[in-house]
């Protein structure tokens, strides 16, 4: 039995296109797999094909997902596809296949006994958790020109899930969020919509001079942070569980010289 591997670009569009092409094959879905980029261990009896991301194909898959499974599930799938894990394409593809054969399609994500659906659920949760961590722990610093600037280093591609939160709460601020891993920037001009640009287009990092207030407020907050803990209750283990070490290098209160 021949196995087909469709190699997709690692993006929403790329993977949705892959799903579209998988259906075009008109072969049993058990024989078709989505994979991202090149597979290191080539299988001898498998056929490899690469899919070109196609906006229209992707849009049709997205529309089907929303129509059949509802917006919530669509969002969960988007989160799963923002994951860093390479099996996400396959999991989403097989989830769509399983879901379309279910009686109650709207309840697809409740079907956790299915391993693919469970995997999508799990990947979506990883992304959601990490996005939430950034909503909690992201720190802005004020630049000389009053722009608020934040850097982060997320494992999953969370930026589009967190910017709306900050845009809603800081509508009158100019702010920038930089994903250092992917080198993408979210830019929010005061009173206007935010947008993404990739790092090649604009290098903001060269422009860092912090405002005067920045030094003062970062010191005030660091001092507050240390003061508010009750020493009779010290519990570094608990602190580590709640605030994983890897976020700390971006956080004002954990930076030695908190302003510069």
């Amino acid at each position: 039995m021949e196995e087909y591997y469709l190699i997709c670009e690692d993006s929403l569009e790329g993977i949705f296109t892959g799903i579209y092409d998988a259906y075009l094959k008109k072969k049993p879905h058990g024989q078709i797999h989505l994979s991202l980029g090149e597979d290191e261990n080539y299988r001898l009896f498998a056929a490899y094909e690469s899919c070109q991301p196609d906006e229209q194909k992707a849009a049709r898959v997205a529309a089907t997902i929303i129509r059949e499974f509802g917006k919530e599930t669509y969002l969960a799938i988007c989160r799963a596809l923002a994951s860093e894990k390479p099996d996400k394409g396959e999991a989403v593809y097989k989830t769509v296949v399983t879901g379309l054969s279910m009686k109650d399609k709207r309840d697809i994500m409740g079907n956790l006994a299915n391993p693919y659906i469970h995997r999508v659920f799990e990947l979506a949760r990883f992304t959601a958790n990490e996005a939430h961590y950034h909503v909690e722990f992201l720190r802005f610093k004020e630049l000389e020109n009053k722009i608020l600037y934040a850097s982060m280093g997320p494992k999953n591609n969370v930026i589009t899930f967190i910017v709306p939160h900050f845009a809603d709460r800081l509508p009158l601020e100019n702010f920038v969020i930089h994903d250092e891993v992917r080198n993408i920037f979210a830019l929010h001009p005061a009173r206007r919509d935010w947008y993404l640009v990739s790092g090649e287009e604009k290098d903001w990092r060269t422009e860092h001079t912090f405002s005067e207030g920045e030094k003062m407020y970062s010191e005030l907050f660091s001092s507050f942070f240390h003061t508010i803990a009750i020493k009779e209750r010290n519990n570094y283990g608990l602190q580590r569980n709640m605030l994983p070490i890897r976020y700390r290098r971006y956080m004002t209160e954990f930076q030695e010289n908190s302003s510069i």
Partner: protein, 443 residues
């Protein structure tokens, strides 16, 4: 004139020093939650709120830092024996100006350090006078600074009810501290406070909330009154009450005063007062933890205080969480069949949290679940296995014997004794739903 002196006497103290003094003085208030109200920004100011609340940092004690928790002033005319700010203590005193409070809140908020402000105060001159100061600061923050994030303020017992009413229209959450579980304890340790004075603003806020909900039904844009509800806290371990008494008080507060949250604060002996227990082992943190677990059972698991404890068994088991403890005393109800038992019963199984229970009920619609499925769903099987069957079978053949199961439930790496630093609350949080981060929601 005299009043002015009292408040503005130390105005030229540097902000850094004030913040240190007034955060240090506020830290024993345990509530730091920013939950209970979801409100989007309206585009004209700064801030919004999320109904689940957001923690922004975690201090060395592992407690969540969500709000800028400060006192307006740590001057106080009262002399509560357990309080660091009491009149008879010789500690540095400081007082903020309303503008300082507003600036700190806004500047911290913009940088995503905090979700908002928690403002409490020592009592200067009189409760009403103190409330006026708080009102002035909060009013300024809401109107002049257009702050739409979270605000939690203390209602000071004995203050003019009109002021409480007005403040309630600006704040998201209000709280009046019960301080101690019983009136006798209060009388002994906080001689200037009276139970009645504490309960009456609590009642007023409750009624205000109810009335406001009705108004909002009629006039959609009626301003909201304390939309995130009210909370309170009591100190445990400073007086002699049993866990049973504490839980009965909490249950009453939930039922009769419709509180959103009751906080329990393990007594920290800051004053070494002769009237107070010395606590050589540090604050009673494990006891506090058990109380929080039980509190969750009341709020989310459908338990009543009387099911967990009684006059005959007035204190929680040190070795077992209250849910496992309850299950072991009711082995006749187990094992339950996962594919058929109703939601409320599944919720009572040790090793199954609220989210897992919901997922089970949802997932079993697509066919019978087995143990592998339960594991995927997030059930902690090593705890649940004594209490459940899947399709009529237990996971392993197991004796339904109290001692045997107890030994197995305790004998894990989470083994006590409780170590203040090495052991984490997460390991100890025995509700076992991996998603349910107990402490995040508690503090």
């Amino acid at each position: 004139m005299e009043k002015d002196l009292m408040i503005h006497g130390k105005e030229n103290m540097p902000l850094m020093e004030k913040l240190k003094i007034l955060a240090d003085a506020a830290k024993y208030d345990v509530s730091c939650s920013s939950s209970g109200v979801g409100r989007r920004g309206d585009g004209t100011g700064i801030g919004n709120t999320l109904s689940a609340g957001i923690c922004h940092s975690f201090g060395a004690d592992g407690r969540c830092i969500s709000l800028l928790k400060i006192l307006f002033t740590n001057e106080c005319i009262y002399d509560c024996k357990y309080c660091i700010n009491r009149k008879s203590n010789d500690v540095p005193r400081a007082t903020f100006t309303p503008d300082e409070i507003c600036e700190l809140t806004i500047q911290f908020y913009r940088r995503n350090y905090i979700e908002g402000l928690f403002l409490s105060s020592g009592i200067v001159y009189s409760p009403t006078y103190t409330m006026e100061l708080i009102y002035e600061a909060v009013h300024k923050l809401r109107t002049l600074y257009r702050f739409q994030g979270y605000i939690h303020v203390k209602a000071i017992p004995g203050a003019d009810p009109q002021l409480i009413q007005r403040l309630g229209l600006l704040a998201d959450r209000m709280s009046v501290n019960l301080e101690l579980p019983t009136a006798e304890g209060l009388k002994r340790l906080a001689p200037n406070k009276h139970r009645k004075n504490i309960l009456s603003p609590m009642r007023q806020i409750q009624q205000g909330i109810t009335q406001n909900k009705n108004e909002i039904v009629v006039y959609k844009h009626a301003p909201s009154f304390v939309p995130a509800g009210q909370s309170t806290q009591m100190i445990v371990g400073a007086t002699q009450e049993s866990d049973y008494q504490v839980m009965m008080v909490a249950e009453n507060l939930y039922k009769k005063f419709e509180l959103k949250r009751v906080y329990y604060s393990a007594f920290v002996n800051v004053n070494q007062d002769r009237e107070l227990p010395a606590l050589p082992g540090g604050p009673p943190l494990l006891r506090e933890h058990r109380l929080y677990q039980a509190d969750w059972l009341l709020r989310f698991y459908g338990f009543e205080a009387g099911e967990l404890l009684s006059e005959q068994k007035p204190n929680f088991n040190v070795l077992l969480d209250p849910k496992a403890d309850w299950a072991l005393r009711h082995l006749e109800l187990f094992p339950v069949e996962i594919n058929r038992a109703d939601y409320r019963m599944i919720l009572r199984v040790p090793g199954i949290g609220v989210k897992s229970a919901q997922r089970i009920v949802r997932a079993r619609r697509n066919g019978n679940l087995n143990f592998e499925d339960l594991k995927r769903i997030g059930v902690t099987l090593k705890r649940a296995l004594y209490f459940i069957t899947c399709n009529g079978k237990m996971m392993y053949p197991t004796k339904m014997d109290e001692d045997y199961i107890t030994r197995n439930l305790i004998d894990r790496k989470e083994k006590l004794p409780f170590d203040r630093d090495g052991m984490t609350y997460k390991q100890l949080s025995l509700f076992d739903d991996s998603e349910e981060c107990l402490w995040k929601n508690i503090i």
